[in-house]
C-alpha cells in the first residue's frame, strides 16, 4: 500500500473537477429547517474550512456527506458524478470519511480493531481474525501520524488524547479503502487536544493535502485560518459566503458567521463589577481527597474565580467534591458561614450550590425529557405549591426563562436533546436559576463545544449572575477564557493549589504567566 499509487489515482482525475460538490441541499427536522439550500465546493488537494455557529447546519451537512442523514432535496457530486450516499459504507467507497466530534471508538475493542472497524481488509479472512495482520495494518496508520500507541491496547485504557489519535488513524484508512483520492472530514478534531498534538494533527492535515481533500471544522477560528486554504461559512442552514484565508482575520469570519458586527468585548468585560464583599461566601480549608490534597480557596459573592491546571491537576475533582459528587477525606467547607454538607449532591443543591458538568450530554441533561422538566429538575419547589406540582406554575416559569435567556426551542415540551448545544447549555444553566436561591455556581467547562455566539451569551449570563451576587467557580475551556472572565485565578498543579493571582480588568496576567505556574 503506497501513497504513490494513490497519487497516481489522484492525477487521473482532471484537476478542474471539484472533489466534492453540494448543490441546494435541504433537510428538515420537525420544527427546524437544518439545511436550507446549502451549496459547497471542495476542490481537489485543498483544505476547506467550514465555519458557522452552532445550529448553523454544519453537523447536518457533514452527516449528509457521510450518508448518516438523508437530505430532503439537493444533490451531491463526487468528482463530477452525482451520487446518492445511503450509508457510511457508501461514502467510504466514494472515498469520503469523517472523524466525529464525539469520539466514535468502541471502548472495549483494541485500538487496532477500532482503526480497521468496518473495513478490516486483509485483517479478516473468511470471518476469521488475523491478529498479526491487524496489528500491522494499525501500525501502518500510527506510523503515518508518528504515534507510539500499542495497537493491541484496549481503547478504554488509553488517554483521551491517545484516543483522538486512534480516531485520526482510523479515518486515514480511507486512503487504503477507496480507489479515489479521499475526502476527509474532521469535525472539531482539536477541541480536546493539547498543543503538541494539535501540531501533529496539522502536519497530518497538510500531508493529506498532497493527495486528498480535507474539510476542517472547528470553532477556533484562528485554527481554521491557520490550517485551511479557504473557509466556507454557513448561517441558519444557508451558505453565506467564503473567505480565502490568506491575510484574513478571525473577526472577519466571525462577522460573516453571526451576520453582523459582533461586539469586540467578547467576554463582556464592560459588565464586570468588582465584588465589594469583605467576607468570602465560600471558604474551603484543607480539603483533601484521592486526587487532590489540602486545597484552600475563598470565593466572594459576585466574584468569578477561575481554576486552571493541566492534566491531573485535580481541579475537576475539587469542583465535583464541592458539589458532593466525589468523596472527600478531610477538610472543611463553609458557605456563608455555615458548614457545607459534602455527603451528596442533594445537600449541596439545598444549600444553594449549582453545578454544570463538562459532559453535558451524559451528565448535564436528561436527553429525552422536556425542556421544562429539565429546567425544573433541580429546583422542584419552584413549580410546586407545598408537595404538589402545579403545571401552570411550571409553564409560566419555564416560558419566562426561555424568553429571558432567548432559548431557541419550538416549545417547552420539546425534548431537550432536539435543541442545539448552546440552547441545551442555557437550559442546564437555567436549572440553577429558576429557584432564585443560587449562591455558588460551579461551572465545569461551560462553553465546551459551543460556538462563539453561544459562548458569548453564556459569558454574558455569567456576568449578570456575578453582578447579582452569585459566587462562581469556573473551570475554563481555555486560558484566554479564564483570563477573560475571572476576577481571580487559582492555579492548581499536582492536586495542590500552586498559586493565586488577581485578574481584575486592566491588570490581567498573560497566558504565559499562568503556564509558568501550571507546570
Amino acid at each position: 500500500m503506497s501513497i504513490e499509487v494513490e497519487s497516481q489515482a489522484a492525477a487521473s482525475v482532471p484537476a478542474r473537477v471539484p472533489a466534492l460538490e453540494v448543490k441546494g441541499l435541504v433537510k428538515h427536522y420537525p420544527g427546524v429547517k437544518a439545511l436550507d439550500g446549502v451549496d459547497l465546493v471542495v476542490h481537489q488537494n485543498e483544505v476547506l474550512g467550514l465555519a458557522g455557529e452552532n445550529g448553523a447546519g454544519k453537523s447536518t451537512l457533514l452527516k449528509a456527506l457521510v450518508g448518516l442523514v438523508k437530505p430532503d432535496a439537493g444533490e451531491i457530486y463526487v468528482r463530477g458524478e452525482k451520487v446518492k450516499l445511503r450509508s457510511v459504507d457508501d461514502a467510504a467507497v466514494q472515498g469520503i470519511g469523517m472523524v466525529f466530534q464525539e469520539q466514535s471508538l468502541v471502548p472495549n475493542l483494541t485500538a487496532a480493531e477500532n482503526i480497521v472497524l468496518g473495513s478490516e481488509g486483509a485483517g479478516v479472512k473468511a470471518g476469521l481474525y488475523r491478529w498479526s495482520e491487524m496489528r500491522r495494518l494499525a501500525q501502518e496508520q500510527f506510523d503515518k501520524i508518528g504515534s507510539h500507541i500499542d495497537p493491541l491496547a484496549r481503547t478504554d485504557t488509553l488517554s483521551f488524547a491517545d484516543r483522538q489519535m486512534v480516531e485520526i488513524a482510523k479515518v486515514l484508512r480511507i486512503e487504503q479503502r477507496s480507489q479515489h483520492p479521499p475526502v476527509i472530514i474532521l469535525d472539531e478534531p482539536t477541541s480536546v487536544l493539547e498543543s503538541k498534538e494539535i501540531e501533529t494533527l496539522f502536519t497530518q492535515v497538510r500531508r493529506l493535502r498532497e493527495f486528498a481533500s480535507v474539510v476542517f471544522v472547528s470553532h477556533r477560528l484562528d485554527e481554521v485560518l491557520d490550517v485551511c486554504d479557504r473557509v466556507a461559512v454557513l448561517r441558519s442552514g444557508q451558505s453565506v459566503g467564503e473567505v480565502q484565508t490568506e491575510g484574513a482575520q478571525p473577526a472577519d469570519l466571525h462577522k460573516m458567521m453571526i451576520g453582523s458586527t459582533g461586539s469586540d468585548d467578547h467576554y463582556h468585560e464592560g459588565l464586570a463589577q468588582p465584588s465589594e464583599e469583605e467576607r468570602p461566601r465560600l471558604t474551603v480549608r484543607g480539603l483533601s481527597a484521592k486526587t487532590f490534597r489540602d486545597v484552600n480557596l475563598d470565593v466572594h459573592a459576585g466574584e468569578i474565580v477561575a481554576v486552571v491546571g493541566v492534566h491531573g491537576s485535580g481541579r475537576e475533582d475539587v469542583c465535583r467534591a464541592l458539589f458532593g459528587a466525589e468523596p472527600t477525606t478531610a477538610g472543611e467547607v463553609t458557605l456563608d458561614g455555615k458548614k457545607l454538607d459534602l455527603s451528596g449532591t442533594r445537600a449541596a443543591c439545598a444549600a444553594g450550590v449549582g453545578y454544570v458538568p463538562a459532559e453535558r450530554k451524559i451528565e448535564g441533561m436528561v436527553g429525552p425529557m422536556s425542556v421544562a422538566d429539565n429546567m425544573t429538575l433541580a429546583k422542584q419547589k419552584s413549580r410546586c405549591n407545598g408537595p404538589l406540582v402545579v403545571p401552570t406554575k411550571q409553564a409560566t416559569l419555564v416560558d419566562r426563562w426561555i424568553e429571558r435567556l432567548s432559548i431557541r426551542t419550538p416549545n417547552r415540551t420539546t425534548a431537550i436533546q432536539r435543541l442545539s448545544g448552546g440552547n441545551q447549555q442555557k437550559v442546564v444553566l437555567a436549572r440553577w436559576l429558576v429557584g432564585n436561591d443560587i449562591r455558588l455556581l460551579l461551572l465545569d467547562h461551560p462553553t465546551r463545544g459551543l460556538d462563539i455566539g453561544a459562548r458569548s451569551e453564556v459569558y454574558r449570563l455569567m456576568r449578570e449572575l456575578a453582578n447579582n451576587g452569585v459566587a462562581t467557580v469556573l473551570l475554563a475551556d481555555s486560558l484566554e477564557e479564564a483570563i477573560g472572565m475571572a476576577d481571580r485565578i487559582i492555579v492548581m498543579s499536582d492536586g495542590k493549589v500552586a498559586s493565586e493571582m488577581p485578574c481584575r480588568t486592566g491588570a490581567k496576567p498573560t497566558p504565559l504567566d499562568l503556564v509558568k505556574e501550571m507546570v
Partner: protein, 331 residues
C-alpha cells in the same frame, strides 16, 4: 444574604403552543388498541367469550397481575428490574395465611408492610452495594422462596376463617369484582402521587440518565429504594388477593406470575431500559397478557398451539406498543 435574583423574568412571556403530534398520540394508545384487537379476535373465535360474566371473570383474574405489574413498573421506570415480585407474593401468601388466625383483619396491612420492607431491603442492597438490580432481585427471588418454604414447612397453609378477606371476592354493583376496584384504586393512587409531585420527574430522570439526575440533585437513591419498596408492597397486595380467592397460602402460589408480570410491563410499552412508560400502560399490558393466558385455552386452542400463539402474539403486541422514538437502541 444578598438577593440572588438574577434578572426579572420578562413580564409577558410568549407561551409557545405545542403538544405531542398525532402519531405520538396514536402510539401512546397502542396498548389499548392491542387490547381491543385481541378481544375482538377472541370474540370472533368464540362469540360466547364476549359476555359480561366472562369479562368479569377475566378482569378478576387480571387483578393480582395488574397490581404486581404496576408495582414493578416503577422499578423498570427507574431503569432497574424486579425479578423477586412473584416469589415475594408467594411468601406473602404464606405470611397472610399464618397470621390471619392471630391478627385477623390487621394481617392484610401487616403483610403489605412486611413485603414493602423486604422490597426496601433489596432496594438498599442495590443502592448501597451497587449490585445490579437484576442480580439483587434474582437473589431475593431464591431467598424469599426459601423463607416461604421454611416458614410454611413446605406445605400449603389453609385459611379456615376467610371472613376478613371475603370482601375482596365480592362484586361492586354485582359486576365489577372488588379486587379489580382495589387494583384500579392502587394504580390511580400511584399515578396521582407521581403526576402531582416531583416524584415523576425524579423517576423519569433516573431512568433516562441516572448521572444527570444525580448531578441535578435528584434524590436518586431514595427514589430507587422507594420504587423497590412500592414494588414489594404491591406484590404483598397481590398476595392478599390470591389468598382471598384460593383460601390458602402456598410457598409457590404466585411463582408463575413473574414472566407474565414482566411481559405485561413490556407489552404496555414501558421501555425496559427505563425512563419512558407509565403505570396505566402496564394495566393495559396486564389485561392483554391475562386475555392470552385464559382466553386462548377457553376458546378451544389446543395446548401446544396455545403456547405457539402466545409467543407470537405477545411479540407482535410489543412490536405494536413500543414507542421507539423514546428508545434509541433496542437491545
Amino acid at each position: 444574604m444578598t438577593s440572588p435574583v438574577v434578572a426579572r423574568p420578562a413580564a409577558e412571556p410568549t407561551v409557545v403552543k405545542g403538544g405531542p403530534s398525532l402519531s405520538a398520540r396514536v402510539t401512546s394508545f397502542m396498548p389499548v388498541i392491542a387490547l381491543v384487537v385481541l378481544l375482538a379476535a377472541l370474540t370472533i373465535a368464540d362469540p360466547g367469550f364476549f359476555t359480561q360474566r366472562s369479562l368479569t371473570a377475566a378482569s378478576m383474574t387480571a387483578a393480582p397481575l395488574i397490581v404486581m405489574a404496576v408495582g414493578a413498573t416503577l422499578v423498570v421506570l427507574c431503569g432497574g428490574i424486579d425479578l423477586s415480585i412473584a416469589a415475594m407474593a408467594s411468601l406473602s401468601t404464606v405470611f397472610l395465611a399464618l397470621w390471619l388466625p392471630s391478627l385477623g383483619a390487621l394481617s392484610t396491612p401487616a403483610v403489605i408492610a412486611a413485603a414493602a420492607a423486604f422490597g426496601a431491603v433489596q432496594g438498599v442492597l442495590h443502592v448501597v452495594l451497587r449490585i445490579p438490580s437484576f442480580i439483587v432481585t434474582l437473589g431475593g427471588m431464591s431467598v424469599f422462596s426459601a423463607i416461604a418454604l421454611v416458614v410454611s414447612d413446605a406445605g400449603t397453609v389453609p385459611v379456615t376463617d376467610n371472613s376478613t378477606l371475603n370482601w375482596l371476592t365480592l362484586y361492586l354493583g354485582g359486576i365489577v369484582p372488588m379486587s379489580v376496584v382495589v387494583a384500579l384504586l392502587v394504580v390511580t393512587g400511584i399515578w396521582v402521587i407521581m403526576r402531582f409531585t416531583p416524584i415523576q420527574s425524579w423517576i423519569t430522570a433516573t431512568g433516562y440518565s441516572e448521572s444527570a439526575a444525580r448531578l441535578a440533585g435528584s434524590p436518586v437513591d431514595y427514589v430507587k429504594i422507594g420504587a423497590f419498596c412500592v414494588s414489594g408492597a404491591c406484590a404483598g397486595l397481590a398476595a392478599v388477593m390470591l389468598v382471598s380467592r384460593n383460601f390458602s397460602g402456598n410457598p409457590s402460589m404466585a411463582d408463575n406470575l413473574l414472566l407474565p408480570a414482566v411481559a405485561a410491563i413490556v407489552v404496555g410499552g414501558t421501555a425496559i431500559t427505563g425512563g419512558h412508560g407509565s403505570v396505566w400502560r402496564s394495566v393495559a399490558g396486564a389485561l392483554v397478557v391475562t386475555l392470552l393466558r385464559v382466553g386462548l385455552p377457553i376458546v378451544g386452542v389446543p395446548s401446544a398451539w396455545e403456547q405457539i400463539l402466545y409467543g407470537a402474539i405477545i411479540v407482535a403486541a410489543v412490536a405494536l406498543t413500543l414507542d421507539r422514538s423514546k428508545v434509541l437502541i433496542i437491545k
